[in-house]
């Protein structure tokens, strides 16, 4: 189990848990990020900038600040192709 902010780029990952305050969690749920979704980190802004995260399950992309990304716990998805 690793934090999304530490996850390798362009690898299929599965969301295990979304931690953090209620506000942040509600926001992520509303944007379609849930437990068990498959995601992929595609890019990062310079100087520890935000992560560009693609939700493969819902086919959407979201920019997440590092602080937010730290609160999302993921694991490498088993069915990596």
């Amino acid at each position: 189990m690793i934090q999304l902010s530490e996850a390798p780029r362009r690898h299929k990952l599965r969301i295990l848990e979304i931690q953090g305050g209620e506000g942040v969690r509600r926001r992520l749920f509303a944007l379609g990020f849930h437990r068990d979704d498959l995601v992929e980190v595609n890019s990062q802004g310079i100087l520890r900038g935000p992560l560009l995260v693609k939700n493969l399950t819902a086919d959407t992309s979201v920019a997440l600040g590092c602080g937010v990304a730290q609160r999302i716990l993921v694991e490498a998805a088993a069915d990596e192709s």
């Binding site: 305050g21 209620e22 506000g23 942040v24 969690r25 509600r26 926001r27 992520l28 749920f29 509303a30 944007l31 379609g32 849930h34 437990r35 595609n42 890019s43 990062q44 802004g45 310079i46 100087l47 520890r48 900038g49 935000p50 560009l52 939700n55 399950t57 819902a58 086919d59 959407t60 992309s61 979201v62 920019a63 997440l64 600040g65 590092c66 602080g67 937010v68």
Partner: protein
Amino acid sequence: MKVDRPTIIFLGQPNSGKSTLFNAIAGHKALTSNFPGTSLKHTHSEVNIEGRIFNVVDLPGTYSLNPSEPAEKVVLSHLFQEKPDLIINVVDASILGRSLELTLELLEIGYPMIVALNMVDLAEKKGVQIDPGRLEEKLGVRVIPTVAAHGRGLKELLDAAFFCFDHPCPTQAPRWSGDVEEEVARLAEKLPAAVVIAGNPRFTAIKLLEANQTFCLEVLGESEPALKNELDQAKKRIEERRRAQVYEVVSAERHHLALKLGEDSSRVRRGKALGWEQRVDSIIMHPFFGYPILVLIFLAFFFLIFKIGGPLEGRLLAPLARLRVLLGGWLGTGLIFHLADGLLQGVGGGAAIVLPYFIPLLFLMAFLEDLGYLARAGFLLDTFMHRIGLHGKSVSPFILGFGCNVPAVLSTRILESPRDRMITSLLIPFIPCSARTTVILALVAFYLGPVYALGFYFFNILIIALVGKALSFFFKDPSPGLILEIPSLKAPSLAAMARKTYLELKSFVRFAWPLLVGGSVVLSLLQFLSLDRILNSALSPLVVRGLGLPQPLGITLVFGFLRKELSLIMMLQALGVEYKNLLTVISREQILVFTVFVSFFIPCLSTFGILWKEGGKRTAFLSVGLSVTVAVAASLLVRLIF
């Protein structure tokens, strides 16, 4: 159902193309409209379609009916206030699964609804083919495929809407997993009629379960203690069984149901073919190349406006000058000449000096917006925004500010934290809006060269950074992290961009141009009665001694509060010269100081109004104090340097 003047509400997630669809339907046919910059973020129009009159309401995009930002709260309150006869739920077909989450939530309310399956072309490009018939069957409401940007499917959508006005269109709320459904049903049964929203106990029960600690729940605790107890028990049972908070459980139910619906009604035709959008996206979002590209885009933006506007302005001014000479010959120098001259300056100045820069700027802004670049700039600039205590979500209001500060201040409603809204709203008046860009281009670029104008913009950005930094010392609470959706890149449609430009232009002609004309006529009158001298000599200590400007310019600065371009148009009038002879009465340095002062001093009347409305009296006056201080300091600095 037969209604006299039915109300249709357009609702959808952000970037679903909802406003494009709304404009396509209401844009040409609107009888009365509120334009951005008046008072409302949402737009009301009365539309006449095939002889029937409708109220059409466009609400801001929202991801769900559990609002976490003020823009989304507007949606919720209006949804229940308007009691719509029909909801048109605009759905982004290219991300069907996620978009349907809001659709399911809307179905829970039970208002008549049809789904506009928008951007089906984009979905097809992605290799996803959606079967609208199948989706219709699953959702139990009409589903009409549309491509709003090209006007496809509008007729069918309107036909479906007409049908729902004349016939009953019942909806069926989606059902969830047994255990959750059981709790919802149990709670719904016990609700007293007084607390039921929209006549729907099930919807009310769901909202009670998933709402966060709101005022309503507190009130409920006091007025209906038994019900509050029942609610707490239900929450506890769900949370124990699912090992998650209720709001997560409910949201996950919708999420999975929506994904399943999406999968069941669409077919993926081919594998991941990399379209041009993705290829372009990987370059403009690149952690390294993204930044030079961002700078290049803004440079190109600036040069295009200047290269189009400059020559056009020169060409339009010549006949205006000739007309003025003719006018002098006919009317002499009396009152009538002064009135006619003021009128000419206002009308002509608007047409020859403002519009040549204003129209290309509007068009290019529409291009950047429709392309989806604003969110991308937010991603790239997030790091820099942190330096001034904000984050990437404030970038889009800032960029909108280059068009007009008023919608920019309104768009701060997308920011979740009041602190971020406050700082962003205070910084927006420093962004050179189209009016100030006109002043900068028509004075600085025209007389000192485009390099000076560019330098002016950099100086301006520096000032914003400094003020932002200073403000973040006073507002210390940490900003919540960035969560910003990056919508897929879309090739903007010329028609949609032209429509947007046209609507903005219409609002300029209606609201701003009369101010320009009125201001010019008033100045003419003041000059005729020699009243301008009194005001000018009163302002003389600041204008002449402080800023080193000619005394007659004092009055133009005062009028700049109405519209920033007015200062420019009145400047020529006050100095009594033609545009091309300006340098005979004022030096290049003075032009620079004048532009700096006009740009920064006091937000214009409309911006002041919107700051007051959105942030309160304190914010509005704080902004005035801040801008006057910055304007004086910056002008003195420029005067010292040059």
